[in-house]
């Protein structure tokens, strides 16, 4: 099976600082992955990990400084805006803010059919509106509403309808559950899963919420400071995280059960600045298991049980809890 999306050694650099002291900041530092047709791939990371930048780079909204993005066998990072346009029919993107990503003075009916107008696709827009709204579980009454008259969950459904309007092959979803209540998050995830099966979509989901990933993604990558620290099938990453950061992320999601013993991995210090990346393993400043080697030598991504892990001392199953150490 050939991948629908192939990303190789992708780097994104930002120039920051005042004129005379310009600095280059590496937002995404050389990541490679691919997404197969019909597959859901998740990028997980906390703020500043570069996950959104990576998604925007894949979508051609962010110029890249090295590497390549190949979509349906065609290299896209070198294309001009005009050359990229036809490809955008097949690659749709959903943005974080459910309401904010909808143009405030357009009605829902016009919003869901905007792709038809942009790509000049001949269609009966009225019946398309009906089809799309019913696909995402909204009635035709909504066609006349404005974004501010929608709840977060409804606005998210409109966003989904917009994305799938022209039957894309790949949907990039940036934080699809951000800003939604837990009782609504499930609805949106169920909807995405359903559409994925019905329409054979491939999905790239970007999120900070590991629980979301667990239920929807086939494979996942954990990002830290613009790099992948662990990549692999979701089930396996969840059952036995190999990278200490993945393990910390997993344990940082408190469960709603006061009696549950929480053997938590607490990360003592803050995320380092991208302008002052730590030497050696970039996670060593926060890693409870860090040893001398980690402070000096950059770990390569190595294959472990069908996963790729960038760590000198990957965790075995049962390696938890971590060595107790008082945070300085």
């Amino acid at each position: 099976m050939t991948a629908i999306l192939e990303v190789k050694y992708l780097e994104v650099t930002f120039r920051v600082g005042p004129m005379m002291r310009r600095q280059d900041l590496l937002g995404v530092a050389g990541v490679s992955f691919d997404v197969n047709p019909g597959e859901t791939f998740a990028l997980v990371g906390e703020s500043g990990s570069g996950k959104t930048t990576l998604a925007r780079a894949v979508n051609g909204l962010q110029p890249i400084s090295a590497g390549s993005v190949t979509f349906q066998g065609q290299r896209v990072d070198t294309l001009s805006v005009r050359e990229m346009k036809p490809l955008r029919r097949d690659m749709a993107m959903m943005f974080q803010d459910p309401v904010g990503s909808l143009s405030p003075r357009m009605k829902v009916g016009d919003l869901v059919t905007e792709a038809f107008r942009i790509h000049r696709v001949e269609a009966d827009l009225q019946s398309e509106t009906e089809r799309l709204l019913s696909l995402v579980g909204l009635t035709m009454d909504f066609a006349e509403r404005f974004p501010h008259q929608l709840s977060g969950g409804q606005a998210r459904r409109v966003g989904v309808a917009r994305a799938i309007a022209l039957n894309p092959k790949l949907v990039i979803a940036d934080e699809p559950t951000a800003g939604l209540d837990v009782s609504v998050q499930g609805e949106v995830l169920n909807l995405l899963g359903e559409l994925r099966e019905r329409l054979g979509l491939a999905m790239l989901i970007i999120t900070h919420n590991l629980h979301v990933v667990h239920h929807v993604a086939d494979r996942m990558a954990v990002m830290y400071l613009g790099r992948f620290v662990e990549t692999g099938p979701t089930e396996e990453v969840f059952s036995a995280p190999a990278h200490p950061y993945t393990a910390a992320l997993l344990s940082a999601n408190p469960e709603p059960d006061p009696d549950k013993a929480q053997d938590r991995i607490t990360l003592p210090s803050e995320v380092p600045s991208l302008l002052a990346r730590p030497e050696g393993c970039e996670f060593h400043t926060r890693c409870p298991w860090a040893k001398d080697k980690c402070r000096k030598v950059v770990p390569d991504a190595t294959a472990i049980n069908g996963r790729r892990v960038a760590c000198h001392y990957p965790l075995d199953e049962g390696a938890r809890p971590p060595p107790k150490k008082e945070p300085s």
């Binding site: 009782s183 979301v212 667990h214 969840f238 999601n253 408190p254 059960d257 803050e270």
Partner: protein
Amino acid sequence: MTVLAIENLNVVFATEGGDLHALRDVSFKVPEQRIVGIVGESGCGKSTLINAILGLLAENGRIASGSISFEGEDLAHLDDKAIQDLRGPRLSTVFQDPMGALNPVISVGRQMRNIQYRSDLARAEKDARSIDMLRQVRIPDAAQALKRYPHEFSGGMKQRIAIAMALMMEPALLIADEPTTALDATLEVTTIELLKDLQAEIGCSVLFISHHLGVIAELCDDVVVMYAGEVVERGSTRQVFGNPSHPYTARLLDCDPARQSERTRQLPTIPGELPDLRRRPEGCIFAARCDRRMDVCAAIPPDIEVVPGHVARCFLAESQ
């Protein structure tokens, strides 16, 4: 002793579409040295409740009936000036955005000294207290940190400084409104642990508002579950989470993805919408979305005490 007792509080907003009954018969207590969590989804009235307590209701809002008694004084009938005098020394707040508490153009040290304006300590002593407080919230190099400005700290550190400032005067009650929501998961848990430690040390009470069930479970002794402006269930966290007696609480707990340890394609949800609070339903507020609705639900259910201290506003709740 009870620090904060809210009884039958009703808040009404005058809107162009008619009166909006934002809070209906809200009652709960915050006992001394306890952490009480308020949990609910958007539109449940959490922010209205806090604003009512702090005397910050919008112009078109008013307390229609009920009382908010804080250390024996009824805040509902106190004028703004008197509430202002309480805020800070006795009643302090931490919000989601720490920059609401921090002035961007004044150094952290000076801001922390300003908070202590009522104290007779000398300047050096005040600074020493500030440093001590910053150490307690684990700000590295606390003495140096006094000279720095808010923007020089990361989001997590800013929130911890805001917490330090809120607890500096050792208030009787800290109201924390979603203080960890904007933080990453790894920072969220450290902030919660910190809050717990500080609360134990200072011995204050905390009213902690969050939509995150896991955080509430971890931090709070008691929990108040709100839906559409009503308290549908309250009690000790262990009781409420272990034996949810209102269908809404039960469904909300089911929805939390952290509860599904098994991978599933079909996640549980609560279908339906919040009721329009301008036309509040006659009976149970949750009836329209409840899958265990009965005929009697057309009337307002009584508050049934499941075990002492654990109350649910539902006909199905049973006293044990």
